[in-house]
């Protein structure tokens, strides 16, 4: 029983991190109808910026405090992600207004390659470290009530908390602020939003900037766990089944979807894996998402699309 609970908790915490990555997809899709294939590259680019700035700043400014160096690095990286957002809008999206979804998807694929290339050219392709003081050692809890106790990974726990906090903040931003409402209006109907004076281009810059910040937080958490390197770009692939399952337009969908995928893949790997050779968790997540799609093509929380014919 203890082991099952451990696996369940491990899955939930991993799921929270997947939600964070999935959120990047949802944000951009909600506001611009673009499925952003470059989300993984943005995570890598942001993490590279954070890792390198936090190493360079103490050299440039002679700062000893790790906290201060990390703080400045975070601000610089966030600013850089907003510059990237502005450039994407100026150089790519602006020229593709009213193009169909497949064109925009291909454009984001191009953005992914450009970001990966520029990222490794500017910041290098070695493994870099982000040290934001995340605890690495595990902790044992409930030793009295459950035989053998429950082993909890403190790093995953803190990461899940940060992810939950960010998701909550974004939800508030979308629901309670005027910019958030403008973003939702743009998502509903570009032309109607423009007709009431919402500047489409500015909204796109804002939403890509917010997605860049989400990528930065995801990059810091995953970078702290895995080291900053090219594989971070593949972390976005963990978010894909989440948005398929949760729905591309729903923030709660990204959260619930992430949790279901996280738990599903861990339980499947641990209990089903040994029976069929193991190494199944990656494709199992997609399989799970496909099963959901059979019953709800728009995802758990996605909007049902009804076309008049």
């Amino acid at each position: 029983m203890g082991f099952f609970i451990e696996t369940l908790i491990g899955g939930l915490m991993a799921g929270m991190l997947y939600s964070l990555v999935a959120l990047g997809f949802v944000l951009i899709f909600k506001a611009s109808g673009v499925f952003n294939f470059a989300q993984g590259a943005m995570v890598l680019f942001a993490a590279l910026a954070m890792a390198r700035f936090s190493a360079w700043i103490p050299e440039w400014l002679g700062i000893d405090s790790r906290l201060l160096a990390n703080g400045i690095a975070f601000i610089l990286s966030a600013a850089l992600m907003c510059v990237v957002a502005w450039l994407i809008e100026r150089l790519v999206l602006r020229h593709l207004v009213n193009q169909d979804g497949a064109t925009l998807l291909m454009a984001t694929l191009g953005i992914a390659y450009v970001l990966e290339g520029i990222g490794s050219s500017i910041f290098g392709s070695d493994i870099y470290r982000i040290d934001v003081g995340m605890p690495k050692e595990p902790v044992m809890i409930l030793e009295g009530s459950i035989e053998g106790g429950l082993l909890i990974n403190k790093e995953d726990f803190v990461a899940a908390l940060v992810a939950a906090l960010l998701v909550g903040t974004l939800w508030l931003f979308f629901q309670k602020t005027s910019t958030g409402r403008a973003l939702r209006a743009v998502a509903d109907d570009h032309q109607a939003a423009q007709s009431i004076g919402i500047p489409l281009n500015r909204i796109w810059v804002i939403v890509w900037c917010v997605a860049g910040l989400v990528a930065l937080v995801a990059g810091i958490i995953w970078g702290s766990k895995l080291g900053v390197q090219f594989s971070l770009a593949t972390v976005a692939l963990r978010g894909l089944p989440v948005v398929i399952l949760g729905g591309l337009t729903s923030i709660p969908g990204a959260i619930i979807g992430g949790l279901i995928i996280g738990v599903g893949e861990k339980l499947s790997e641990v209990y089903l894996g040994p029976l069929i050779g193991g190494g199944i968790e990656i494709w199992f997540a997609y399989q799970l998402a496909l099963v959901f799609l059979l019953f709800r093509p728009q995802g758990l929380f996605g909007e049902k699309i009804i076309d008049r014919v």
């Binding site: 971070l232 893949e265 861990k266």
Partner: protein
Amino acid sequence: MKLQQLVLTAAALALSSLLTAPPALAQAKEQFFPVLVYRTGAYAPNGTQWANGYVDYLKLVNAKGGINGVRISFEECETAYATDRGVECYERLKGKGGGATVFQPLSTGVTFALTEKAPVDKIPLITAGYGRSESQNGAVFTWNFPLLGTYWVGADVAVQHIAKKEGGVGKLKGKKIALVYHDSPYGKEPIPILQELGKTHGFDVQLLPVAHPGVEQKATWLQIRQQKPDYVLLWGWGVMNSTALREAQATGYPRDRMIGVWWAGAEPDVKDVAEGAKGYSALTLQHGAEPGSKVVKDVLDLVHAKGQGTGPKDEVGQVLYMRGLISAMLGVEGVRKAQERYGKGKVMTGEQVRWGLENLNLDQKTLDAMGFAGVMRPVQTSCLDHMGSSWVRVHTWNGSKWEFTSDWYQADEKVIRPMVMLASGKYADEKKIKPRTPEECKK
């Protein structure tokens, strides 16, 4: 007067063309080394160091006057550790520079794909420390050279090391050994020998595959926590290795009970985990990090000091850099050996280099003179044995650097040879290959 000027001009032109002739001739006397690398993609941090060592050694040979006067030309091709791109690179480079000397794909997947192409194109494949384990049998795999060791050598030595730690082979009975492996041809290579050794010595082998690139291992380590194996063998590459060490730390699995293969025992695997990887051991393909060796000093003096270095100076001598450097050296020595038979100072064909590689005899004196004293042991191949050496040491990460923590082990031929013969025989039957006889080898 005009005629005199004309004659003088013509003479000057003739002289200048003669003077420019030597470079043209030298250009013809270039031995072409294709360099398959991965400096991009998920495995770039590891692949880049290997590539830098490989290229630096080729530059060093040129700085010392080439191979008996034959200069080396080379061209890199990026594979990103993808089999299709590796094959593409092979096709693109095999005919360049008068024909490729030797290919070293640094990927077991690419090696599997090229094993059938190499005999057709008559270009040897050196796979130092990787590739197909049964390709040690030169009678069947006439163009493959898994020099210095195969994964079966690695797995056998890992078990020997565990037995030594436990106090003897007899103590292995009832033990549980988990293999956490990259779910690819590379990661699957040690499975047959571990299962065979498990049957012989009475230990249980638990198989735990990890999907590429290996960033998600939580479920794997939860299983390890549940089943509590006595040892974990780590058969990973790239980010999979550091992730495994982080997960071991997060689940409290003791790092001194983990043993990695030689592709899971370099600086990129541990430096980021630092103290968290303390006590973790890995096999070495003879060498470890060798910053104090003579060959490294030569590279720094004759290549880097002249602004010709391929990568960062502070990485020269690190584990994977040395692996690349030694791999290049083996290729170069194959050419040198071939020249002994087919003509010193001549450019060798792939077929001639194959002869050189299967007649390699790098004794300790030669290695020491080349700057490899303390780095590696003698390598002697034959037509039937394309591996040439099966010596392994173990090194351990002390939190800041790798340190040798064992004596030399040698793989047990009594265990490996029958498996090599069986697997290569099966391959020969499948592909309808008639194995070479010792008599044919003498030709």
